[in-house]
């Protein structure tokens, strides 16, 4: 991959990343993450 393509990929990925995050926030994914993270995850500790 030449340096020009690499640079373009960097910026494209960064812009997509922020667009993904914004879309995820607007459709309410943050509350799903919070809800999972503030309760003991039985699967994580091996009881799932």
């Amino acid at each position: 991959m030449d340096s020009k393509t690499k640079r373009a990929m960097r910026y494209l990925t960064l812009v997509s990343a922020f667009a993904f995050m914004a879309y995820g926030v607007t459709r309410g994914e943050v509350s799903v993450v919070l809800n999972k993270a503030v309760n003991i995850c039985l699967e994580c500790i091996g009881l799932g």
């Binding site: 991959m1 960064l14 993904f20 993450v33 500790i45 009881l47």
Partner: protein, 283 residues
């Protein structure tokens, strides 16, 4: 005055990052986990959100939680976060920030014979990412459309070590429900600990789905490595000091490089550069 080596600087940053992501230490004695608003944000490194001290959500756990929830099959929020962190820093996160990376490095200090793993084993983590983190939580669902976080449930040794053992030691009612899944997870944890004694960052190299994501982004990340071909004398010192079994001269964008900087320090001609900007090549 004697200059502080890159390894000491890295260790200090790793310890600080470990403390920052696990700041709720009092919860260990209470047997609780932190339930505040910081948990809506993901931690860039692998750190179980059921660890009593954890302040942030685990990105791999969060990705599966959203994909396995009733309303969504894919987490734009978490994938976006990982893409942003990954494209900015690549596997620098693994080398400097990941709490489970530090734990593995401490285990590796045990004085036993150190060995290298074959290259094919480093590809297992991509299969783990695809099957256990992306496909199974979204595809295998119950009658309500809810999937399980299969990586957390069947594999994650960080969850067993940071969440399982501390919580089970303080909750007798949870201990009564232990079964085959816990036996499987303890077996994986023991195997990973044994692996880490012999192989540097055994889990990162073979199984970590977060390492797989950041590894792929290492190839295009803003923080990157450059080799000055005019300065390089091909002495091979950089490859010989690399604990991730990378030859920086041949593969400076390797998905395995955790940007620890050991090769930069070892280079006798200052031909290796790590940073956000390209270093101008000398003629």
């Amino acid at each position: 005055m004697k200059k502080i080596g890159i390894n000491v600087k890295r260790k200090l940053i790793q310890i600080a990052a470990f403390g920052f992501t696990n700041s709720k230490l009092a919860n260990f004695s209470k047997g609780n986990i932190y339930t505040g608003n910081w948990k809506q944000f993901c931690n860039p490194g692998l750190n179980c959100y059921s660890c009593p001290a954890a302040t942030y959500a685990c990105p791999i756990g969060a990705m599966q939680a959203v994909a396995g929830s009733m309303n969504y099959r894919f987490s734009f929020y978490v994938v976006g976060f990982l893409l942003a962190v990954g494209v900015l820093f690549g596997r620098l996160i693994c080398g400097y920030i990941c709490p489970f990376g530090l734990i593995q490095e401490v285990i590796h200090l045990l004085p036993v014979k150190k060995i290298k793993i074959p290259k094919w084993m480093t590809y297992i983590k991509y299969a783990v990412l695809l099957v256990f983190v992306i496909i199974l939580p979204a595809a295998v669902t119950n009658y309500m459309g809810i999937g399980k976080p299969t990586f957390c449930q069947y594999i994650c040794p960080a969850g067993t070590l940071e969440g399982g053992i501390p919580l089970l030691s303080t909750h007798s009612e949870l201990r009564q429900t232990l079964g085959h899944i816990f036996s499987l997870k303890i077996t994986i944890l023991v195997l990973v600990v044994i692996g880490c004694c012999f192989v540097y960052r055994f889990f990162c190299k073979t199984l970590c789905p977060l390492g797989a994501i950041y590894g792929l982004l290492n190839k295009v990340s803003f923080y990157h490595m450059t080799i000055d071909d005019h300065k390089c004398i091909h002495c091979g010192k950089c490859a010989s000091v690399c604990k991730m079994d990378v030859n920086p001269v041949k593969e400076c964008d390797s998905a395995e490089c955790i940007r620890c900087g050991k090769c930069v320090e070892s280079c006798p001609t200052d031909a290796i550069h790590l940073g956000f900007r390209d270093k101008k090549s000398s003629q």
